[in-house]
């Protein structure tokens, strides 16, 4: 009886630890070799044949096709510069410059990867659509209500992620273009 109880206990511990660790790893999209610049994180290796088993598993679970490294590199931000998760009810400002790339796009998704419905059917910006200042820097307001300038609507959802994709770029490919490249900063301007 004691033996039975004991092995049952060990098996339950194994199931909880094993499946719990798998669930955590996949829900965080963990993989080896992240490239983190400020709040932005990319996994350049995930877009290559050398992707590790964690990358394979999270790609399969999400049902997406990763951005191939020869195509570009995708940076994800889910929190602002103070580490607070991005909230669609707040006015968030994304400002600065982007690393050298032929084109880039910035897109807002729900955490599950769906686009967010809004009144003006704007889901993101491309590098050519953006209104810039004279020095080439730009400011995008990510907010639930209309704003002048570059307005990216959140649809008022509670949580969202921003993905900045750089196309035809050296970032993530060459070792020189590493952590010192400039990325836009994300700050909360006001929160209801």
């Amino acid at each position: 009886m004691r033996l039975l109880l004991g092995s049952l206990f060990a098996l339950i511990v194994a199931a909880v630890v094993g499946l719990g660790a798998t669930y955590l790893a996949l829900s965080r999209g963990a993989a080896f070799g992240p490239l983190t610049i400020g709040i932005w994180t990319a996994w350049p290796k995930t877009g290559t044949i050398e992707a590790d088993p964690y990358a394979h598993a999270s790609i399969a679970r999400a049902g997406r096709l990763p951005t191939a490294l020869g195509d570009g590199v995708a940076f994800t931000a889910s929190a602002d510069d103070n580490g607070r998760l991005l909230d669609g009810r707040c006015d968030v400002v994304l400002a600065g410059v982007t690393p050298a790339a032929r084109f880039w796009t910035l897109t807002l998704y729900s955490p599950g990867g769906e686009l967010v419905a809004n009144s003006i059917n704007r889901f993101g910006f491309t590098s050519q659509e953006i209104v810039r200042r004279a020095d080439g820097s730009f400011e995008i307001v990510v907010a639930p209500r209309a704003n002048p300038g570059n307005w990216l609507p959140t649809g008022g959802i509670e949580r969202y992620v921003l993905i900045l994709r750089l196309y035809d770029t050296a970032v993530g490919v060459s070792t020189k273009a590493g952590r010192e490249v400039p990325m836009p900063i994300v700050t909360v301007r006001s929160c209801p």
Binding site: A10, L11, V13, I49, L65, G112, Y167
Partner: protein
């Protein structure tokens, strides 16, 4: 007390094995991965245009809405494949994925350096069986080796402004993916 601690430790070690096993097995058993999703609508060895992602329906999560895209789901058992993609006005890229959605090769319009991106896709075995001289005479042929017999080719063209989406869609629609003779 020590007995239970030992059992918990043993369970945790076993849990580590369970964790690694599930991570490795998961891609092989996934039924909602990108390839399986697209397999329902995309015919084999032909180009299928994908509808633009919308908030209520998208072929895959995390698609870039600024792009017009199409896929060619390939099967190389019958022989190599020829792919040609006309270059759109802004940015055009072709990415190759294995059956398990691993990107193994990508090329864009600038790297191709022509008006049309032309490629031949074959397995490693098929490449090895190619006659030597043929390889030399066609020095400018771009040959891509697929690690798996089946897989996906994603063809994408950027619309730098929303109004240019029809142009990008036309370029993607003109792409061809056929068996090589």
């Amino acid at each position: 007390m020590i007995r239970w601690l030992l059992l918990a430790l043993g369970g945790a070690v076993l849990g580590g094995i369970v964790h690694l096993a599930t991570i490795i097995i998961l891609p092989r058993t996934a039924t909602q991965d990108a390839y399986s999703r697209l397999a329902r609508s995309a015919a084999i060895n032909s180009v299928t245009e994908l509808p633009a992602p919308a908030p209520d329906a998208a072929p895959m999560p995390f698609m870039d809405p600024a792009f017009a895209s199409a896929v060619c789901r390939y099967d190389l058992t019958q022989g190599p494949l020829k792919l040609s993609v006309p270059v759109s006005l802004a940015y055009t890229s072709v990415s190759f994925y294995t059956r398990y959605d691993v990107a193994y090769y990508a090329i864009n319009d600038r790297a191709a350096g022509r008006r049309v991106i032309e490629l031949e896709l074959m397995t490693v075995d098929q490449h090895n069986q190619m006659p030597e001289d043929e390889d030399i005479t066609a020095a400018d042929r771009l040959i891509v080796e697929s690690p798996t017999v089946t897989g996906l080719i994603a063809i994408r063209a950027l619309a730098p402004e929303a109004g240019l989406m029809p142009v990008a869609q036309r370029a993607v629609a003109a792409a061809k993916c056929v068996r090589a003779e």
